[in-house]
Structures are given as structure tokens and as C-alpha cells.
């Protein structure tokens, strides 16, 4: 399937809503294995997305993803800014030249994360959510269970990338905050498609 502009707008709007409602949850996850500000940072990004759309309503998918990317890049501050920013910017560039199938679109975002973070699956990062979600979307099988399974699997991993990697074995048993915010992103996507 391909995302229509209205569905994609709904997707981002729901993501913004979840980030604003779950700031404390994300901060708490980040306090356990990071520096405690992922929720605050992402909320700032969410507000920036809302402000950017109010200024200029995106007219194409490429516009929508680009505006989202720059809001995150400019306002988030922490590592998730350039990471989400790169994922959405790469998706924006790809949409410009071609209308993409959802799974291929998400894979391009995932590849952007891998490049920017010099990371891959199994390192207890947001890639551990993005990659299985991309795979599932390619097979038209994206559902809540895919996200739940990805989070559960990531929880048991020992972090080998990012700040949590300093905790080594102690990072096991905690949910990576970037994985949780990515879960919100894809839960929003499922809701937008279903609506």
C-alpha cells in the first residue's frame, strides 16, 4: 500500500499527540539508562512540528516529511534530533522522485537511521523497532503485535550503541527510550491507516 497525504498527515498528528501525552513515560525510561530528557526533547520536537504545520500546511508527502524532519533537527537537541531528522529527510527525498510503497518508505527511513547512528539491529536502539516494522509493512502485515514484539525483544538486549552502552549488562531489562518513541510513531501509523 501507499500512504495518501491525508493519512500521512493524520499519522504525524497522532505521533505529535502521543509525544505530548507521554513525555513523562519517555523521560522515565531515559532516566533508567540515559540522561532522562528524551521525553522533554521529543515533546519540544512535537511542538515544533505543530508550529511548522501551522505556518505552512504541507501540500505533498515530500513536504510533510521534510517539515517534520527539520522541526526535529532544529528543536530536539539530543541525539534523537538528527536521528529522526535523517529518517524523515531521507523519506522526504525518496518521495520526491517516486511514490513509494509504505514498506519501502519505512525501510529508507531505517537505512537513514543506520547511516546516521552508524548502527544496526541488535544494538538496543530505535532501529530494533524500525527494522521489523519496515519488514512487516513490506509484507502488508504491520500490526500492534509487530511493535509489541519488537519492544519486548529490544528490552532483553544489552545496549552496544548510544549512551546506554556504558551500562553494559545493566541496560538489559530496560526499554530503550528511542525504541518507545518509535513505537509511538508506528502505533500512530497503524491508527492513521485504520481510521
Amino acid at each position: 500500500m501507499k500512504l495518501e497525504l491525508t493519512t500521512a498527515k493524520k499519522w504525524i498528528a497522532l505521533f505529535v499527540e502521543k509525544l505530548e501525552n507521554n513525555m513523562a513515560v519517555l523521560n522515565e525510561l531515559d532516566t533508567a539508562i540515559g540522561d532522562g530528557d528524551h521525553g522533554t526533547n521529543m515533546k519540544r520536537g512535537a511542538e515544533a512540528i505543530t508550529a511548522a504545520f501551522a505556518k505552512k500546511e504541507p501540500e505533498t508527502l515530500a513536504d510533510l516529511y521534510k517539515t517534520t524532519a527539520f522541526a526535529m533537527i532544529q528543536k530536539v537537541g539530543g541525539a534523537s534530533g538528527p536521528l529522526y531528522g535523517t529518517a524523515f529527510l531521507d523519506m522526504s527525498k525518496a518521495e520526491k522522485s517516486d511514490e513509494l510503497e509504505l514498506g519501502d518508505l519505512l525501510q529508507i527511513g531505517t537505512d537513514g537511521l543506520k547511516r546516521r547512528g552508524q548502527s544496526d539491529v541488535g544494538m538496543k536502539t530505535m532501529i530494533d523497532v524500525w527494522q521489523p516494522v519496515s519488514e512487516a509493512a513490506k509484507n502488508n502485515q504491520l500490526n500492534q503485535k509487530v511493535i509489541d514484539d519488537a519492544l519486548a525483544k529490544g528490552k532483553d538486549l544489552v545496549a552496544t550503541k548510544g549512551r546506554a552502552s556504558y551500562l553494559e549488562e545493566k541496560s538489559k531489562g530496560h526499554i530503550d527510550p528511542g525504541s518507545q518513541s518509535s513505537a509511538y510513531l508506528f502505533e500512530s501509523l497503524i491508527e492513521a491507516i485504520g481510521a
Binding site: 532544529q74 537537541g77 538528527p82 531528522g85 535523517t86 546516521r116 549512551r163
Partner: protein
């Protein structure tokens, strides 16, 4: 001059401090900084890095950074700009100092990079 130096840090004060330090060794070099977020909080800002690169008078940039998202934002800018930027994964203070000292006396890039090699930490 051929090379200018850009310092990217999570902290405004660290960026300013490194600039002050290396300026003593390289008074004629263009040294610009991107420290902290736009509100001078701890963090890194792509816009500030962009500004530091735009303001730099070097034909090419030697860039030094401290932590993860400084690096990610710097790499993001490198994908966006036409300016030639060389990024070094070395100890920030020692690396910037070494490069500044050598660039001040117009050392060629291969000499600068040879001297940075033992300072590689990331």
C-alpha cells in the same frame, strides 16, 4: 588561509574555551564555534554548525566535535553543504590544538592528518 577550524560541542562554554585556547597557538586562523543548543543549553544544533561553517573564512574546514549528537549533526551538515569539511574523530582539545598549530604555519593536510592520527579516540 587554506584551512579554518570549526569546533562543535554540546556545551557553549567548552566550544568557547577550546577556541580561546587554540587561538593562542593560531592567531591568524579562522576559528568558529557551534556550542550548545540555540538557547545555550546543553546539546547540539545543526543551525549553529551551519552558521559556524558559513562564517568560517577557511577555504576548507577542519572540524572537531565532542559527543554523539555533535557528530551526527556535523555529519548531517556535511551531507547538505558544498563546502569541503574534514571531520576528525579525535580528542577534541588536543586534536583542535594540534591542527590549529599546524594550519597556522600552512602545513599541508597530510602532515596535519598524520599528527592527528595518534589522537584518534572514537
Amino acid at each position: 588561509m587554506k584551512y579554518g577550524i570549526v569546533i562543535v560541542s554540546h556545551s557553549y562554554d567548552i566550544a568557547q574555551g577550546v577556541k580561546k585556547l587554540i587561538s593562542q597557538a593560531a592567531p591568524d586562523l579562522s576559528i568558529t564555534t557551534a556550542g550548545g543548543t540555540e538557547d545555550e543549553e546543553i546539546g547540539s544544533s545543526l543551525e549553529k554548525i551551519q552558521q559556524a561553517v558559513d562564517d568560517n573564512h577557511g577555504e576548507e574546514i577542519l572540524a572537531f566535535y565532542d559527543l554523539g549528537s555533535s557528530k551526527m549533526n556535523l555529519e548531517m551538515l556535511m551531507e547538505m553543504t558544498d563546502k569541503k569539511i574534514h571531520k576528525y574523530d579525535v580528542a577534541l582539545v588536543e586534536g583542535a590544538y594540534t591542527a590549529a598549530t599546524l594550519a597556522q604555519v600552512d602545513s599541508p593536510l597530510d602532515v596535519i592528518e598524520k599528527n592527528l592520527q595518534p589522537l584518534k579516540i572514537k
